[in-house]
Symmetry: C2
Subunit: 375 residues, 2 copies
C-alpha cells in the first residue's frame, strides 16, 4: 500500500523505517534535516518537504495515498487529523493533541474512513489492553503507570525528553481527571505522589497527570480509573518547587524593562537541561493493573513493559514503543483487520480479539514485549 | 552627639530608633516612603531625602555631624564609606560591600578618622568574639555558623529575606574562602553540606559561603577558619538544582526574541517568593566555636545566639542583631572607648576588653543575648 507519514520527527522517522518494510512510504516534514536523516537511514523511503500547517493542501497532497499516519506535533494534531479525514483518508494518529478526537467521529463516518487515535504507549497499548479485557471480564478498576526515562540519571532533574519541555510542563500544570466510584474527579497534577519499586529500575515516583483521555468516556462503567506518570524520585519535588514559586506562570513578569513569560523562560532554560541526545539511551516503563471479576471469581491482570533504547538500530525506546503501536494500528487498517468507520481510540479497536492479538504480536516481533501476570 | 545615618531601609530605621535615645539623629534616604515610616515611629528623628549615590555631595552634607553610620545597600557601600572618610568623619559601617575595606585604611589615618566595618552578626559579633579571645588564649581553629530565617517555614524554599534575592544568590554563587592548615583554600559555595541540630529549631542545614572576609587577613595565625550559612533543610538542595540547571547564569538567553539574563529573571521570580513581609516573624541564629589552648590547657569556647522578631517593638531580628551591633560600634566611637585611627574590622576593636564588654552589654540591654559555654 501507499502510506503518507505526516511528520519526520524522532517517532515519525522510526515509523517510516518500520512501514517501508511492507509498504510504499512517503514522509512529509517541513524540516529538510529530518527528511535527510531519514533518507540516509533508508533510501527506499521517499521524502517530501512540506509545511504541514497548510491544511488546505492536504486534499491534493494525500490524493495518491491509501493510508495516512499522523505524527505531527500535538499543538497542530487535531487540525491535521481533521484535514486528513476531510481528504477522505483513513489514518492512524499519534499526535496526542489536547482536543477530543471523538468530535470528528461524525465527519469520519460521513467520509467513510477510519481514524485510530492515541496509538502510543499510554494512551495506546494500555487502551488496547483495557478494551480487550473489558470484553472477557468485568473490570471494576484499573491503574496505569507509565514513564519515559533516560538511562543515565543526571541530577538535578534525572529526566530527558526528545521534544520541547513546554509540552511536558503543560502535563505538569493541567489538572488530572480520574474516575473514582463512578464520578470523574479532578485533582491538581503532581498530586498523590507514591513510590513504586521495580526490580530492574529500583524505586520510581508516581503522581497524577491527565492521561486517561478517551477512557473516561468510552468506559464509564469502570468506576475506578487512574493513570499516573513515573519519574525517578526527586524529579517531581523539584517540579513542584518551580511551579509553586511561579517559574511556570504564564502571566508575563517585567525583567529589566522586558516582559517575559515565566513559562517561556523556564522552557528555554530547561531545554538545555532536558534535551535527549540523538543517540542517548533511554527507556520506557509501563504497568497496567486491572482488577475485576469473571463468573464470580476475582481476577487481577497485570501487564508490564520495560523497553530500552536499541543499540543495534539506534532507535529510541520512546520511538519503538509509541511508534510501533501506531504502525501496528496502521497495519490493522492496511490489512482490513479493523473495518468500522469513524474515530476510534484503541480501546474500541482492542475489543476485537484479532485486532488485539495482531497488535501484541506486531510489537513482540519488534521486541517490544508486554509481560502478563494473572492472579 | 549629632549622628548621620545613611540609608533608612529596614536595618537603617532600627538603628535610627535606637540611636535617637541618646543622640541627635538625621536619617538620609532616597525613598520618601522609608523616611516617612521612620518619622511615624519617632518624630524626634530628623529625615532628609537625598540620593546617596551622589558621593560628591557628602562633604557638605555631612559637615554638621560628629559621626556617621553607613547603612546603604552593599553595591554602593564601598564608595559611600570612602566618601564619608574623605569628608573627615568617623563611621560605623554595616553596608557589607564586596570590596576590601582595609584598602581605605591609609586614607582614614590621613583624615584622622576611625571606621569600624562589617558591624553585623557574622561578620560582626563573631569578629568581636574572635578578636577578644585571640588576646587571652591561643586559638587553633574556629567555626562560625549563621543564618537569618523566617519563623514560618513555607515550602519550597523556607526562606525569606528583606532585601533583593540577587544579593543572596550572589552569596550562593561566589566561591567560599576558608583557612585550612594555614592555607586559604577556595571551595564552591554550597559545598560541605551538613545537618546541625538545635534544641529550639530542630535540624538545620549548613554549607560553605564566603563569609570570613577580613578574618582571613587579620588572623592568619589561626590556621583553621570556617564560616558557614544555616538554612532550613531542603533549601540548598533546591538552590543547587536551580544553579546547576542554569537559572542563575548571567549570560543572557533568548526567550521569544528578547535577551534575558537568567539571574535577573530568577531574582525577579524569587522576589515574590522570598520577600519578607513588613511585620513577618523571623529569627537569627549564630553559633561560634573556638578551639584553642591556654597555658597548656585545651579550651573550647562556644557562643550561641537565637534572637527572634520583637512583637512589642515590631523590629525584626535581623535589624536587632545586625543593627544593634552597629549602633554599639557607633557608640564606641561616640564615647571615645575606641580611639585608634584607620579602618578596623570588629576583631581589631574587640581585642580591647572594654570595647568587647561594652558591645556585649549594649546588646544584652536590648535583649540580644549571646550565651557562652566553655569546656
Amino acid at each position: 500500500m501507499k502510506i503518507a507519514i505526516l511528520g519526520a520527527g524522532m517517532v515519525g522517522r522510526a515509523m517510516a523505517l518500520d512501514l517501508v518494510q511492507q509498504h510504499d512510504v512517503i514522509s512529509f516534514d517541513i524540516s529538510e534535516t529530518n527528511l535527510a536523516a531519514l533518507k540516509a537511514r533508508n533510501p527506499n523511503i521517499k521524502t517530501h518537504a512540506a509545511d504541514l500547517k497548510n491544511f488546505s493542501s492536504y486534499k491534493d497532497m494525500l490524493e495518491p495515498f491509501d493510508l495516512v499516519v499522523n505524527a505531527v506535533p500535538g499543538f497542530m494534531g487535531y487540525a491535521a487529523l481533521e484535514a486528513v479525514i476531510r481528504a477522505g483518508k483513513s489514518v492512524a494518529d499519534i499526535s496526542f493533541f489536547p482536543e477530543n478526537a471523538l468530535d470528528l467521529d461524525a465527519l469520519a463516518k460521513e467520509k467513510n474512513v477510519t481514524a485510530i487515535t492515541d496509538c502510543g504507549v499510554a494512551p495506546g497499548m494500555s487502551n488496547y489492553i483495557i478494551g480487550r479485557y473489558n470484553e472477557i471480564m468485568t473490570i471494576d478498576s484499573f491503574e496505569i503507570y507509565v514513564g519515559g526515562l533516560p538511562q543515565t540519571r543526571k541530577k538535578p532533574f534525572e529526566y530527558k525528553v526528545p521534544f520541547s519541555p513546554v509540552d511536558v510542563i503543560e502535563e505538569y500544570i493541567r489538572p488530572a481527571r480520574l474516575m473514582e466510584n463512578g464520578y470523574i474527579v479532578t485533582r491538581p497534577a503532581l498530586t498523590d505522589r507514591e513510590w513504586m519499586h521495580f526490580d530492574e529500575l529500583g524505586t520510581l515516583e508516581t503522581f497524577n497527570t491527565d492521561g486517561l483521555r478517551s477512557l473516561l468516556f468510552t468506559m464509564p462503567h469502570i468506576k475506578n480509573q487512574k493513570e499516573k506518570t513515573l519519574r525517578y524520585p526527586g524529579h517531581v519535588e523539584l517540579i513542584i518547587a518551580l511551579k509553586e514559586s511561579g517559574f511556570f506562570d504564564t502571566e508575563p513578569i517585567t525583567v529589566k524593562g522586558h516582559k517575559v513569560s515565566p513559562l517561556d523562560f523556564s522552557s528555554q532554560i530547561l531545554f538545555k537541561e532536558w534535551k535527549l541526545g540523538e543517540e542517548e539511551k533511554e527507556l520506557t516503563i509501563m504497568k497496567v493493573i486491572l482488577h475485576g471479576h469473571d463468573n464470580g471469581e476475582k481476577r487481577t491482570i497485570e501487564y508490564n513493559l520495560l523497553d530500552r533504547y536499541d543499540d543495534e538500530t539506534k532507535i529510541s525506546s520512546m520511538s519503538r514503543t509509541t511508534g510501533y503501536t501506531c504502525t501496528a494500528s496502521a497495519n490493522l487498517l492496511a490489512h482490513e483487520l479493523f473495518r468500522e468507520r469513524g474515530v476510534f481510540p484503541p480501546e474500541l479497536v482492542g475489543k476485537n480479539a484479532d485486532c488485539f492479538n495482531y497488535v501484541m504480536h506486531y510489537l513482540s516481533e519488534r521486541k517490544v514485549v508486554l509481560h502478563k501476570k494473572e492472579s
